[in-house]
């Protein structure tokens, strides 16, 4: 690009006269890149520091203010063969990073405490069966208390906070019985230490914390990794716009730098980057990303246009409107609010179990105490046994059962190019029995493609592709893509709104509208046969051809839909495009239940109907018009090319040109759900064995330690099976950005 991008809004100015810029780098694939990038950037004048983070592919550069322009860094990287995009860290990601660090600190404290206390506990256990003196045992118990109390106070915070939050909202979650168990076990152990007793449970408490924190941390690390990649993708996608300054000068700026009432120039063939009102110029725009409609809409001064539309043949000047203004956006956001409010809050599997679990366990403990008193034991012994019941049932395995599977499954999804936005989406995905697809941009690729290359002579197609390379028209770009030849012809002239022409071998070559090439007769015929295609004509002396262009199906759409159906899923199409354009697609895919011309409200109504039939709907969509439907469906997916608002609503986002991730997502989710239920069953069986033992008073600290670590280990190992078989899934397509190629 000859124009340089104005990066000034991304530069952070430090107090000591240095400027700081974060860049997301595309194209890093080996260890040598670290050195190459850092040393070349540092060689630039005025550069103070350049540090590449290889884990998340971000480069932090610092330079002396005013000595070098930030664009020079980007250009240097370009020269080295890397593409750099200014990166603005998002609030969510920073929040996740902070939380992950905090959990790691808690984990370190719990690990330190559990190792040291276990050292003391094992000495006491072996001493109890040999010749430990009561004084030494008391000393060890006091030391254990000294370590355990502050460690639990610090490392237990994530659980205390979560339990408090649940109780304040008058709900319970898995953390409530955990916290009750921890606190009771600690209190009893301190009490027993004071009484010079043989048994304390300090080791069980800190070990429990350590296991649980491991689960939490892994969960957080996985989510953070997904967010980092999503953050990079967002900055790679970050769009730029030509802003017209007050002096009339045109500057290329990132859209993030645009303010309402700025004026923006949109040239033919460019994607409109912001919402705005046309103040001058007229053109046809393709709003397929916004409404799903593939026919172009004529636009003139005073019309509202939306970000994501593609400008076809005329230059437009826009006035930027504040986000969320405009009739369509208003409607979409109103529907979104309703859909989100109406969506009955899905209760996660773990919470449902917790809801049933806590009362049962606490009742069991109470019954234990009463039975022991009734059979003549002292109150002290009765309470001790009851607390032992609570400790042994403290849902260590239960609390790990679901999160560990979620971590392993989202790792498997990550490797197949799917990013989960919501952790509980896996459970909802597993329940799905109906898949509703949007057509434009979801079943079809977002870019236009020539659909009849086979019926055109290869030399004509090659010539058309070469001349098309010099046109700015989006349809011509589709023609240019049919041929890898990068050379074009000399002296190509673009006639605005008509086409391009040049002289090759003393014969005039034209590519453009049928009228421009004198092929109106043939064009009428083709248009009648293919009502869903746009036409481009090519004429070079006697060599003439009509090229049909439309958004082609994703390469594996047919097989994926067939596979989905083979798995017993009902596939449907719900499109905002004209019925004539939907029909052929539905026909190819063999889907009989389809609807075209659906407005956002119609889509929601259709989903409500399906819901009323008792179906569990997965909605796959990309357009702005799909956002409310995605929110209304039980669970939703969207391709990475989707509108921003839509991606924010989707439970998961998939990468690449293929539809296979939809299939992979459902497969992995189903397997994960099966494993979650198995894990819960294992935890239940464990409790069925452990509770009677505790009831009868056989649970010593040694038994508790063995039982808890044993059950946690089994559950974790079982969860690891969620990653099995992912190797057989189709590899991600070539277009996947390289920064996700690394294994999770």
């Amino acid at each position: 690009m000859a124009e340089t991008l104005d990066l000034s809004i991304f530069v952070k100015h430090e107090d000591n006269g240095t400027a700081h810029l974060d860049l997301a780098i595309e194209g890093i694939d080996c260890a040598a890149c670290i050195d190459e990038i850092e040393s070349c950037v540092l060689r630039l004048p005025g550069m103070v520091d350049a540090r590449l983070n290889y884990t998340n592919h971000r480069l932090a550069v610092e330079w002396k203010e005013g000595e070098i322009a930030p664009t020079a860094v980007v250009e240097e990287l370009q020269r080295l063969g890397y593409r750099a995009h200014p990166f603005q860290s998002r609030l969510v990601e920073e929040e996740e990073t902070r939380r992950a660090q905090w959990l790691l600190k808690c984990l370190a404290v719990a690990g330190f405490a559990s190792m040291n206390i276990m050292l003391l506990a094992v000495s006491v256990w072996s001493g109890n069966v040999t010749d430990i003196t009561p004084e030494t045992r008391d000393f060890f118990h006091w030391l254990a208390a000294l370590i355990a109390l502050p460690a639990v106070a610090y490392a237990g915070q994530p659980f205390f906070q979560s339990a408090m939050k649940a109780l304040r909202n008058k709900r319970t979650n898995m953390d409530v019985p955990i916290v009750i168990g921890i606190l009771l076990a600690l209190t009893m152990s301190v009490f027993e230490t004071l009484n010079h007793a043989e048994h304390t449970y300090f080791d069980s408490v800190v070990m429990l914390l350590f296991f649980l924190l491991c689960g939490r941390y892994l969960d957080q690390a996985m989510r953070r990794k997904t967010r980092a990649v999503a953050g990079n993708l967002a900055s790679l996608r970050a769009e730029v716009a030509h802003r017209i300054d007050s002096s009339g000068e045109i500057v290329l700026v990132p859209t993030a730098a645009l303010r309402p009432d700025d004026r923006v120039l949109v040239r033919p063939g460019e994607r409109i980057a912001v919402d705005g009102i046309v103040i001058s110029g007229s053109s046809e725009i393709d709003e397929s990303l916004v409404t799903g409609e593939t026919a172009h809409r004529p636009t003139r001064a005073g019309d509202q246009v939306y970000a994501g539309s593609l400008n076809y043949n005329g230059t437009l000047t826009l006035q930027v409107t504040a986000a969320g203004k405009g009739t369509l956006l208003d409607e979409v956001s109103r529907l979104l609010e309703n859909a989100a409010a109406a969506k009955s809050r899905y209760v996660q599997l773990a919470d449902r179990v917790a809801r049933a679990y806590a009362p049962v366990v606490h009742t069991a403990a109470a019954i234990t105490a009463l039975t022991w008193i009734a059979t003549g034991a002292s109150v002290h012994d009765a309470i001790l046994t009851a607390v032992a019941v609570l400790i042994i049932t403290c849902p260590c395995a239960l609390a790990l059962a679901v999160p560990v599977v979620q971590v392993v499954a989202s790792g498997a999804l990550f490797r197949s190019g799917v990013f989960l936005n919501a952790g509980d989406a896996l459970e909802r995905l597993a329940a799905v029995d109906t898949v509703v697809f949007d057509k434009t941009g979801t079943l079809t690729l977002p870019d236009m493609q020539v659909v009849n290359p086979a019926s055109i002579a290869p030399d004509i197609l090659a010539a058309a592709a070469r001349i098309a390379r010099l046109s700015h028209h989006p349809l011509a770009a589709a023609v240019a893509r049919t041929d890898g030849n990068r050379r074009s012809f000399e002296g190509v002239v673009e006639e605005p709104g008509q086409g391009v022409r040049t002289i090759v071998d003393e014969v005039e070559m034209r590519l453009g509208s049928p009228a421009f090439c004198g092929l109106e007769e043939e064009a009428r015929e083709s248009a009648a046969r293919h009502p869903d295609c746009s036409l481009i004509a090519f004429a070079w002396g006697e060599k003439r051809a009509i090229l049909l262009v439309r958004q082609a199906l994703r390469p594996d759409a047919v097989s994926v839909v067939a596979d989905l159906r083979a798995k017993g899923l009902d596939c449907r199409i719900l499109s905002g495009d004209r019925p004539e354009a939907v029909a052929p697609i539905a026909d190819v895919l063999g889907i009989s239940a389809w609807r075209g011309g659906a407005k956002p409200a119609d889509k929601i109504a259709a989903l409500e109907e399906l819901k009323a039939e008792g179906r569990k709907v997965l909605m796959v969509g990309d357009g702005l018009n799909d956002a409310p439907a995605l929110a209304a469906a039980l669970v939703s997916l969207s391709p990475i090319s989707a509108a921003d608002l839509t991606q924010a609503q989707a439970d998961a986002v998939f990468l690449g040109d293929r539809l296979a991730p939809v299939l992979a997502t459902i497969d992995i989710a189903r397997r994960a759900h099966r494993l979650m239920r198995q894990n819960l069953l294992i935890a239940l069986v464990y409790n069925l064995i452990a509770v009677p033992l505790a009831f009868l008073g056989y649970v010593t600290p040694l038994v508790a330690a063995l039982a808890m670590s044993g059950s946690s280990t089994i559950v974790t190992l079982n969860a690891l099976r969620a990653r099995a078989d992912t190797g057989t899934l189709p590899r991600r397509s070539e277009t996947t950005p390289d920064l996700v190629l690394q294994e999770a």
Binding site: I34, D35, N53, Y54, F112, N116, L120, T133, T136, L143
Partner: protein, 49 residues
Amino acid sequence: MDVLLYLVPMALLLGLTGLAAFMWSLKSGQYDDVEGAALRVLSDDDIKP
């Protein structure tokens, strides 16, 4: 067994030193780029031939 009176606290102190070292390394950003750190160690550009 009196030896335990100072041996055990000493062992604890050593453990605490380890914990403090971990906290320091976490705070100084040594876990921000674990993959990069694994590869940087292989770079030998700082050694003059």
